[in-house]
């Protein structure tokens, strides 16, 4: 998929910019680690970056709010200036491109003609199919038409965000414009789904870097999401999970338990049913993620999450939730209220954890007092 130009390779560009080979290898190691590769993968990354030129990318905007583009430019590693100057040739994106109108369309068509079967199509937004597609028109053409035209010659398609993957907010009931995710409209093309509202910036850049670096799509799960970022539940990677297991919950926002950072399950957290990288990669270069900042996960990378509300009603049923029917009871026991019919083993285990945590908290307080 190397465009036929006399461009320097990524490695050559780095050298021109004054980076040493040592810097370059360090960068490759970071990228390799980032992509979950073993040490042996570093050489592969290095090789790829020394030989590939920039991959043409067409980035379409349909029914969307541009949060995906905004998230993309938040990426810290790699930073977006490096992505668009050195790694890809972002030939069409309404958000950033200099040209407007005919000149913008001409840029898109040029790429489609010069790189058939080579360019990557990124789609931000869903496609409204009702009324001949009149609910989203660009340059006088419907989004339905434009999607079909641009998809035909694409090597692969990336669906950015929940709009392209699931329809997102405009597809919530009653979906008045017929907002449709792209996999229902495009067949016979590899589609990488990167859901989230928006997806994490580093995840977006990571998916592009994977494509560019290895010249192939990352390994996907059964519904088309990159396994690297969507194979674990937020619940299973949440640092507040021990409080959940111990039955220590925030009962209402800004209560004493909220100030202690207890589990947000009872105020509606969707972490137990949400597959995303938030608990590990976190947001904005790892600064925080919703749960860390005190609000439950709203499940924005899951299909139909808008219709799975209200957001502040706790989940009552989700796969792998061993003690769901007892979450209240654990809290009640903890509060000193006797409850009959407790599943003894599970609760016993969790009460032990709770005792342990309580004990450690008490110990902390004692040492605090001793110091003061």
């Amino acid at each position: 998929m190397t465009p036929s130009s006399n461009r320097p390779t990524y490695y050559e560009e780095l050298r021109q910019k004054g980076y040493s080979r040592r810097d370059f290898m360090k960068f490759c190691t970071t990228i390799a680690a980032y992509m979950g590769l073993q040490a042996s993968g570093v050489a592969q990354v290095a090789e790829a970056l020394k030989s590939n030129s920039r991959v043409p990318v067409i980035w379409m905007h349909f029914q969307e709010c541009t949060c995906c583009s905004e998230s993309f430019i938040r990426s810290s590693h790699p930073i977006v200036a490096d992505v668009i100057l050195d790694k890809i040739s972002l030939d069409y994106t309404e958000t950033l491109m200099a040209a407007s109108g005919h000149q913008a369309e001409a840029a898109m068509h040029k790429t489609m003609e010069e790189y058939p079967g080579e360019y990557v199509l990124c789609v931000e937004g869903s496609v409204p199919v009702y009324e001949d597609g009149v609910y989203c028109c660009i340059g006088g053409r419907s989004a339905v038409d434009i999607l079909q035209e641009t998809a035909a010659g694409a090597k692969a398609i990336i669906g950015w965000g929940s709009c392209a993957c699931n329809g997102c907010v405009q597809a919530a009931k009653p979906n008045p414009t017929g907002a449709t995710p792209i996999h229902k409209l495009v067949k016979n093309k590899p589609i990488i789904k990167v859901p989230g509202c928006p997806p994490i910036g580093e995840v977006m850049a990571g998916v592009l870097v994977h494509l560019v670096t290895f010249g192939r799509i990352p390994e996907l799960d059964r519904i088309g999401r990159p396994k690297a970022f969507y194979s674990k539940r937020v619940h299973d990677t949440c640092y507040r999970r021990p409080f959940y297991d111990a039955g220590l919950f925030v009962e209402s926002f800004d209560d004493e338990n909220a100030q202690k950072g207890y589990c947000l399950y009872k105020v509606g957290c969707r972490g137990p049913m949400t597959y995303n990288a938030c608990g590990v990669t976190r947001w904005n270069n790892g600064v925080s993620f919703p749960i860390q900042s005190g609000h439950g996960c709203i499940g924005c990378s899951e299909e139909n999450f808008w219709d799975n509300g209200p957001f502040y009603r706790r989940l009552t049923n989700f796969p792998g939730f061993g003690i769901e029917s007892n979450a209240d009871k654990i809290g009640a026991v903890a509060a000193g209220v006797t409850v009959a019919g407790i599943a003894a083993h599970a609760i016993g285990t969790n009460l032990r954890k709770k005792k342990l945590i309580d004990g450690l908290v008490a110990e902390g307080k004692e040492s605090d007092q001793a110091l003061s």
């Binding site: 461009r7 949060c67 200036a81 040739s89 109108g101 028109c137 800004d254 904005n284 900042s293």
Partner: protein
Amino acid sequence: MSNRIVVDPITRIEGHLRIEADIQDGKVVDAYSSGTMVRLIERILQGRDPRDAWAFVGRVCGVCTTVHSLASCRSVEDALNIVIPPNAEIVRNLMFCAQYMHDHVVHFYHLHALDWVDVVNALQADPKATSELAQSISNWPKSSTGYFSDLQKRIKGFVESGQLGIFTNGYWGHPAYKLPPEVNLIGLAHYLEALEWQKEMVKVHAIFGGKNPHPNYLVGGMACSIGLDDVSAINAERLSYVGRLFEEGKRFVEQVYIPDLLAIASFYKDWGAIGGGLGNYLVYGDLPTNGYNDPSSFLIPSGAILNKDISQVYDVDLREDAQVQEFVSRSWYEYADGDNAGLHPWKGETKLNYTGPKPPYEHLNVEEKYSYLKTPRWKGNAMEVGPLARMLVGYARGREDFKEVVDGALAKLDVPVTALFSTLGRTAARGLETQLIANWAMDFYEQLLTNIRNGDTRMADTSKFNPERWETSAQGVGHTEAPRGALAHWCVIKDQKLENYQLVVPTTWNASPRDPEGKMSAYESSLMDNTPIADPEQPLEILRTVHSFDPCMACAVHLYDEEGKQVNRVKVL
């Protein structure tokens, strides 16, 4: 004989905007602005939990992220008579400030600068002269000859590759580009620096709201509890992080954005007499210092100015029936009692009625309906909203802080006050406002620390969070100033569910089609105001004026309740 040109898509904006303009003798003689995408989020909100609304409407826009969530929480809190704790107000203000600093800088460099800065011409610059120039206008440390020389080499390689990426087919070499190569190179350098910087500023949102774009809000306050003794809550580490982000943000605004703005503007003073348009300005106000329910405490004062007369500022009341009204005579909707009526949003009545051409089409029928945007009016007047409106109202209200930055900039550029009413004035006002905001943010930050020091750590009032404690029916209005202008949300709650939810959004004010009297809104009016077109094939000048408003189309297009429910007037605060 005029020549009709179509610019669609207008790029470097949020969303889908189409401009059709008639050109005669090198001038725009007629202009039509059309929004071509619709999602109907208000319809989707009906029947939902009011406490969830902030999340839905937050997704109206990912560029103006947070502002709709803020207006939504205020609207629901107004309906339920919830007063949020002072710390929550300050945290919301801090998020507001971070949003402005981020959004205005990104607009200037990434959405607007390429209208003024010729990227290809930057390759002709002398790095040494560029360095001297940069150091003469700012203390910003990245200004050595070597720095500019390296950057130039990088861009040269990029251009020579033949793969111009986002710079493909720009109007490079257009006669309307006036900057010397050295200024172009500085602009380009800071385009790239700002791209890297912007991801830092929004970390304020990640700290308080968990993520950006689309941080989390909460009806009744904010979810980020203060807990100085817990690693998970807002503690000394988190607070220090916020303080550092604002300090660095302020430095970037003062040492990069403002010097660049003034340097570039000094070569385009003629644009101080182009693109003025309506001369009517509307501001709802924001940044409370004594609670949202005390408008007199707002750092951004509300008010309306008519016919460029800054000697008089009119008060604005969002609850009064005859003030804010919306029209659909030229929009793809219909009203039950005829399309010429104007309805207050609380009486909002809308039925989608697409009468435009079937795609693919060459031209819209601009003599009839031609946009998914409705047409809002204030007391029948077309109004401009946004940074220029805010700076003018603050100035006209006699606020010293506003006067200082405005008069200072006018003096530096050596242009008269009338130059404010223009494309250049709009772009300059955005920068001056950012300067004010960057200072205010530091004050809010200090106030938050003081509150905590004094023992107030409350972040949310949840006494009415449970819907069982609500009245059977309630209604409210919440407003804010989005970076692009005045924004308000109206909600009606019945039996614990949203019965109606409506937004009137900045870009709807500015980019809407004509009203029943044929009066233009701000985009069209500004394009008609003295806009030259050197080359109809490369309508760079149209982009300059349209971009000076910072269009946000996803915000602007929305649809109200299809059944057209009648809503009564709600109580005044």
